[in-house]
């Protein structure tokens, strides 16, 4: 890596927008990929704090919704407003842990070094971050030889390294053992207590119950319901969510 890269002022991305990026307002969001819309007329309001769980059957559009909210893709129509900003303007203030994490062809430690350097963060935090996600003993191993769960944890550490105000998690514990699931949930809860807004996709009902303040339920690209957690689990409003919670297949 050339030194010229480290010298580029890291603050440029962050300076582009000031002010609050919450609450989130989504209006008439449509995403068409090919023929059928994969997201169809979504309206959604998310408050400034807490943890929102996004649920729904496979292919209901959860991952795509996260990418749109994070500004990685343009909707076909509709609006996404973070505070007063467009999604593309606030990407740098958010982090997304992808469903399939992409790790650089470098060591575990170098993966974190890279993000810290690119984003102008203090590189001394690397070891603490590795420790935080329980990967300190793997620091010098090639990241691409990590197990699925370890790779997820490194991806989470990388996301935290950017000090996001909003943290998107796309099934981050899908391949973790029970103890690691608890560890990740603890890390995410800590982040939430520090004021990070969490938007979390999961299929794990127990996890959803433990983490959720509110639940967004998608079904075939539409918002089936958006309900407080205290209501959603005992008494979901939509037929789709009732079927999903009771284990009946809804695609």
């Amino acid at each position: 890596m050339s030194d010229a890269v480290t010298l580029t002022p890291p603050s440029t991305v962050d300076d582009r927008t000031n002010g609050l990026i919450l609450p989130l307002r989504v209006r008439d969001l449509v995403l068409r990929l090919g023929e059928a819309p994969v997201l169809d007329g979504l309206n959604l309001d998310l408050g400034p704090t807490g943890c929102t769980m996004v649920m729904g059957p496979n292919g209901s559009g959860k991952s795509l919704l996260l990418k749109l909210l994070h500004g990685l893709a343009q909707p076909t129509s509709g609006q996404i407003v973070w505070g007063e900003h467009t999604a593309a303007d606030v990407t740098a203030r958010q982090a997304l842990v992808f469903q399939k994490p992409v790790l650089l062809r470098r060591s575990v430690a170098a993966n974190l070094d890279f993000v810290l350097r690119m984003r102008g963060k203090n590189r001394g935090r690397r070891d603490a971050l590795l420790d935080h996600v329980g990967l300190a003993h793997k620091a010098n191993q090639p990241a691409r030889l990590l197990s699925g769960g370890e790779a997820q944890r490194l991806a989470l550490a990388r996301a935290l390294a950017t000090d996001p105000e909003v943290l998107f998690l796309d099934e981050p514990t899908a391949s973790l053992d029970p103890a690691s699931v608890m560890a990740i949930e603890q890390i995410v809860s800590d982040a939430r207590l520090r004021g990070v807004r969490i938007i979390f996709v999961t299929h794990d009902l127990g996890q959803a119950r433990r983490m959720a303040n509110d639940v967004v339920f998608l079904h075939r690209g539409r918002l089936a319901e958006h309900t407080a957690a205290s209501e959603f689990f005992p008494e979901p409003q939509s037929q789709a969510a009732r079927d999903y919670l009771s284990g009946r297949i809804v695609v």
Partner: protein
């Protein structure tokens, strides 16, 4: 008198082999000079071709623009440039009546470097484009999420593809050091000035001095084998460390 002549020929080939080995092992100054010039010309050409070809490959790899498919077709077609045609074109430009004739570069090592650079820069560009495009497809979304600048993204791609790119460079060098058509036209195979391994082999063989030709052939073969061994070793190392 066919039979004795045939025998004599066999005899002289055997003798030539012995002489060739002796030349190589004793470090014959003429031989060393030719080998050194070959390496200087082809290594320089490879370096310049990488300086030109890598950025072009990287740029095309990460950009989407109109006519991109045409650019790709042209890049791939240029990989197969015939050395003699490149030699001829460079000759026409550098000859005294040519547009660059005033530089007086014809029949100098610089002319040979230019010709070989033109020959292998497209190879470096096309192969590195492929390597970097595949990697970019994998990294692009993550990089956008991290809000990397284009420069940061390219630097990271080049670094993470370093093993593959090294093999691309070696492929270019292998082609440069083994070609004869371009360097013989623009270099002229002048003793102590522009004589490289391939041109010397061509000339000495036609003159009947098989010993020097064979000796150079042995060295050239050794270089080619080493380059290939290096490529294999790099691949293995990279695979073992999960860098591919």
């Amino acid at each position: 008198m066919f039979f004795p002549e045939h025998l004599e020929n066999l005899h002289s080939i055997g003798e030539a082999f012995a002489l060739a080995l002796q030349l190589v092992l004793s470090g014959d100054p003429d031989l060393l000079e030719i080998v050194a010039l070959s390496l200087r010309v082809s290594l320089t050409a490879t370096a310049v071709a990488c300086l030109i070809g890598l950025p072009i490959g990287a740029l095309v790899a990460i950009s989407r623009f109109r006519g991109r498919t045409i650019v790709l077709v042209v890049m791939n077609a240029l990989m197969g440039l015939p050395p003699v045609v490149v030699g001829l074109l460079v000759y026409l430009h550098l000859s005294r009546s040519g547009p660059l004739g005033f530089l007086g570069l014809l029949y100098t090592p610089t002319a040979m470097i230019i010709a070989q650079t033109i020959l292998i820069a497209p190879i470096v560009a096309a192969l590195s484009r492929q390597v970097l495009e595949d990697l970019h497809a994998e990294y692009a979304e993550q990089f956008r999420s991290l809000c990397l600048t284009r420069g940061q993204a390219v630097a990271a791609l080049l670094w993470d593809a370093r093993y593959s790119l090294l093999t691309v460079g070696l492929a270019g060098f292998g082609r440069a050091v083994a070609e004869v058509g371009a360097v013989i036209i623009v270099g002229g195979n002048i003793d102590h000035l522009t004589r490289v391994m391939t041109t010397a082999i061509a000339l000495e063989t036609s003159k009947g001095d098989l010993a020097l030709a064979l000796a150079l052939g042995v060295v050239l073969l050794a270089i080619s084998l080493s380059v290939n061994a290096a490529v294999q070793t790099l691949r293995l190392t990279a695979t073992r460390q999960a860098y591919v």
